[in-house]
Amino acid sequence: MRFALTPEQNQFAETLDAVLAKSDVARPWADGDHTPGLAVWRRLAELGVTTIAQEGDPTDLVVVMEAIGFHALPGPAIETIAVLPTLLDGMSLGTVAIPPRVPYAVDADVADRVLVIRDDVVFDAECGPQVASVDPCRRLFTVTATTEVARLGNAFERGVLACAAQLLGAGRALLARSVAYAKQRAQFGRPIGSFQAVKHQLANVHVALELARPLVYGAALDAVDVSGAKVAAGNAAGLAARCALQVHGAIGYTRENDLSFWLTKVRALRSAWGTESIHRAQILTNLHPRKQSSPEEAPTS
């Protein structure tokens, strides 16, 4: 029953926010210039972000990934921070494919280490050609496994959790930007945020994110199914994206507006680390034992 953040975690989140808020690296990354983004990653490594999953509280990972999602930081975050930290030296960026559910490796051309995992066996891999991605800040590469290097359990599940947390952060950012825009943008002589139609859409986004959040933290503590957390965070972030575009109008749709970084990121992450179809099937499988319980049986509590 401890889904609230500790004071230390809140402080760490603030530090992270401060570092990430100053960086404006998504646009150059999308345009092929990775230098500023890689500098931010070095700063994060110095702060201990890249090794956080190995130390301390399991919810620390969620705090970090939420912040990265909130600021739309490009780079192989899920892979480096959540999936591979035990195989990296704390300062390197890593990326990985776990076919078939994670068929491509993100940003493999800039990663220090490229891996493939099959049945918990880790292989070094060579970076192959790039394939199309909906998110210009999340470039996908085919990779080919070479030599076996290690064994690693639960890699996929850790990635799913991190992905859910990143979606949550991205959803919160979309909501925050939409709220700010709705307050300052006037139409028909009043701020559009004073219209109930706009207000209630934004309230619905808040509700969806508020509900997804404890699931993600619960999944970090193994109290909740990680598939449920991914689906809930993905749907909430999807709703936030849809609402953001509706509130911003055609402006949100232009390249000049930064909104597009979150819009495309959310869409890409919803398909990444297992689609909704895959996780929904997983949830149904997990529910199955309960399916057998008769209605007369007292519920477990």
């Binding site: 309230a203 808040h206 997804a212 619960g218 399916k291």
Partner: protein, 378 residues
């Protein structure tokens, strides 16, 4: 520690929900509030004698200062045992906490022990005809006549008014005042000539709610709680739900389990869309539980209540509609318990209205949590 609490409670319920009380299992609550009142009152008093009422209250007021975790356990186990809906809950969950927060020592000493002992039952006098969600539209007036308040006006949607001994009434005590200003929170005895209760018949044929007419009803001058009636009334609303949510969720889960069972028996589950909706409902339960736990963990739950209200009301309404689709798939017969599902369908539809409509909750979230501008006043 809390395991021990759970075991003790579970044992007590198993031992006591027997004999004449056995038939109370599942009785009361939405659509069944009219059933077995006398026996439920006796049951509540048995609970009181065993010290299972007002768990979280300070010991000096008749409680046992139980922890939040224990209160959650109480509601979960109580619901799991299918113990009947309480008839003394309005005093215990709404008025009691209000008096603890805003009442005088005299008021607390006078009322709290009798609530804890289930000697006096309470009802709530907020809503007025035509006001609906607009709680500040109060026309009921009260004026001080010597050492008594004289109350005149009409309240509506008042559960249990026909059996309550007392009513807490939001009344306008400053003539000519408007909206939230000039209101007082009065405690009014129900058994007097100036109070008349008329049941409101629902479309199910039962009467869950009443109209209450005050025509020069009287109460002593000291029966006013706090200075600012509006603030006190809002305080009462904030006490609504909270830990009781966990008991509600157990009830929801039982409804869903029963519906899943029916869908298997009557073949409705063969439709993948029905199966998907049932699975979504199960996930919804997990979401509500995780959210409720998180809310409890917070020092200041703030506007979480609006989020929770929107979600459970939507979930329950959807379950009611899903129930009709599951029932309908095999035709409707008495053996398949149409009554139960019909009640669920009809009652859950009101969930998005009472206790603050969906629209009001969304306004609260948009304006107070997100800080969006208010609508222009006409």
């Amino acid at each position: 520690m809390s395991d021990q609490f759970r075991q003790q409670l579970r044992g007590w319920l198993a031992e006591n929900l027997t004999g004449e009380f056995a038939k109370l299992r599942g009785v009361g609550g939405p659509g069944r509030e009219h059933e077995e009142f006398e026996l439920r009152l006796a049951w509540d008093r048995r609970l009181a004698r065993a010290g299972w009422t007002c768990l979280g209250w300070p010991v000096e007021h008749g409680g046992r200062q139980a922890s939040l975790a224990e209160q959650v356990i109480f509601h979960e186990e109580y619901a799991a045992a299918r113990a009947p809906a309480r008839v003394s809950h309005i005093g215990e969950e709404l008025l009691g906490p209000t008096l603890i927060a805003f009442g005088t020592k005299e008021q607390r000493d006078r009322f709290l022990p009798r609530i804890a002992a289930v000697e006096e039952l309470w009802c709530q006098g907020y809503s007025e005809p035509g006001a609906g969600s607009d709680l500040a539209a109060v026309s009921t007036t009260a004026t001080l006549d010597g050492d008594e308040w004289v109350v005149t006006g009409q309240k509506v949607w008042t559960s249990l008014a026909h059996v309550a001994d007392w009513c807490f009434v939001l009344a306008r005590t400053e003539p000519g005042s408007r909206r939230q200003r000039g209101l007082s929170y009065l405690l009014v005895p129900m058994n007097q000539p100036g109070v008349e209760v008329r049941p409101i018949r629902q479309l199910t044929g039962t009467s869950e709610f009443n109209e209450v007419f005050f025509d020069q009803a009287r109460t002593p001058a000291g029966m006013v709680v706090g200075d600012d009636g509006w603030r006190v009334a809002m305080g009462t609303l904030a006490f609504e739900r909270g830990v009781a949510t966990f008991g509600q969720q157990v009830g929801f889960r039982r409804e869903l389990d029963a519906l899943v069972g029916l869908a298997r028996r009557n073949g409705a589950m063969a439709d993948p869309v029905i199966e998907y909706r049932l699975a979504q409902a199960r996930i919804g339960l997990e979401v509500m539980r995780a959210h409720a736990i998180r809310t409890l963990s917070r020092d200041n739950p703030g506007f979480e209540a609006s989020v929770a209200k929107l979600v459970w009301a939507r979930w329950h309404r959807d379950l009611g509609e899903l129930a009709m689709d599951v029932v309908g798939a095999a035709g409707m017969t008495v053996e398949d318990g149409l009554d139960e599902w019909q009640r669920l369908f009809l009652f859950s539809r009101a969930d998005t209205i009472y206790g603050g409509s969906d629209e009001i909750q969304r306004n609260i979230i948009a304006e107070r949590v997100l800080g969006l501008p208010k609508e222009p006043r006409p």
